[in-house]
Symmetry: C2
Subunit: 283 residues, 2 copies
């Protein structure tokens, strides 16, 4: 028996109860997407494993007949019992966020064109320099430079939905209490050693302080201070790493006007977006 | 009863069978991580929901007594029945890849410091120009510019673990059959409209062709050709979008030597990594 997909399953309790003993093949509610696929709505579904299993089986047959390709099911944390049911039907994991896991299935025999999930984490390193030629540096309580004696620039992760310059300003304020203005991105590292096989971009940002009293973040930072730029770049730990040395050279050169970075141009968009590039010479 | 965590549960069938009627509280095998947390090894565990539930409960109590903080459980697709059990014990989703879902729990009352999962997807737009002042352009079969008449640069997603310049070279070859050499990154867009709430970086790359016969990718591209740069930038669709116009201006200026981009410097690393920055003036 196939019940119309447009009916809300939660309103069909009586009809379904009347079927006791028969197999229940009610179709799952689903929205069509722009890529000949469907997105299943399990928001209002009963957390009933047996009913979900029979509906899912019937629905896959139905979608296959309709020529549908990708099937997406977003399963809330509270509905986790449905996860093994979907896996049993051939679904795999696409991505997960704290409150849900997204499962996908590719129905046709053609190569699967479902896009990969997010591939990168993004961080910033903030070079904050004042008019005395000093740079804002910190020592960290954990991480690879803990107890190394290295005075380093503040660094941190950009949050999902956050802009690079906004993230740089936030991290400097959190770690040191210093408010800053963004100037330029002078370089970025394209790396691939982030946790869980993810890739990792680090943007090196130049910033100008607009407040001067250091207040350190106790949980992460053991010390912070203003340090002469030459002294900063000459630290042995800085000179031993090609990457740290390159980053310091570019920052110092930019500060001295010997190296151009990318400035930020706002883009009209629903969420704050920007295009970063060099100034164009007009001669 | 608490059995040593170092014993392999799969070797304890006899001991466990002898306990029938008693509660089984065998501890889960786990490795300590660098952040006072533990990573649970469920690779060799029986896919036995009841046993997993009782072991997980006992293990959480044990880790709490030890002062452990974050608990990570990687559950393979084949073990999906264990997912609802962990959720029931307070775990949530951290991330998922096609073959597994990673679950996490934060034991102490202190704020959770478990890092977020990957936040960004990364793409490239490739400006490939030849010595005649022509740029390589395509028309797409799907996406936002389908049927728009716009001749656009080849674009595409960077894969997890892939470098930006390598990804740009690959995408151009896939879409047009043209082999290229990477020159510079001239800008990037920091956007936040990717699927599933993710952020989205697009790197604009300058490349030089090293082969010249166009062979289009039938599945994605409807046409490709070399187009005079002035004609490319003057397209009405290009002039109507501030972002597209800015990108075209920067590319043309870079091609004419009026705008500096970031070149790539290799970084010694386990996986191919690079630092991108401007050249430093030495005067």
């Amino acid at each position: 028996m196939v019940v119309s997909a447009s009916e809300d399953p939660s309103n069909n309790d009586n009809a379904i109860n009347a079927l006791s003993g028969e197999e229940i093949h009610q179709l799952l509610k689903a929205r069509e997407d722009r890529y000949d696929g469907v997105e299943v709505d399990v928001e209002n579904m009963h957390n009933d494993v047996r009913r979900f299993a029979s509906s899912l089986k019937a629905s896959i047959t139905h979608w296959a007949r309709q020529g549908k390709k990708g099937v997406w099911i977003k399963v809330a944390k509270e509905q986790a019992k449905l996860v093994p049911v979907a896996i049993e039907e051939g679904f795999w994991y696409h991505h997960a966020e704290p409150s849900y896991v997204m499962l996908v299935l590719w129905i046709p025999k053609t190569p699967c064109t479902i896009p990969d999930n997010a591939s990168h984490q993004v961080g910033i390193a903030a070079f904050v320099y004042n008019s005395k030629g000093e740079v804002l540096v910190v020592q960290e309580k954990c991480g690879p430079y803990k107890d190394s004696g290295l005075w380093k620039m503040p660094t941190g992760r950009i949050k999902q939905g956050e802009g690079i310059k906004e993230g740089a300003i936030r991290e400097v304020r959190e770690e040191t209490g210093i408010d800053t203005e963004f100037i330029q991105v002078v370089g970025f590292r394209d790396g691939h050693n982030a946790p869980f096989g993810k890739s990792d971009l680090l943007f090196v940002c130049m910033l100008k302080p607009i407040s001067f009293d250091i207040v350190i973040q106790d949980s992460e930072i053991s010390a912070a201070k203003w340090m002469a730029v030459d002294e900063f770049a000459a630290q042995p730990k800085m000179q031993q790493s090609k990457l740290l040395k390159d980053i310091a050279s570019v920052c110092v050169a930019n500060m001295q006007g010997r190296c151009r970075g990318f400035s930020s141009i706002e883009i009209p968009s629903r969420k704050p977006s920007a295009f970063y590039c060099s100034a164009i010479d007009t001669e």
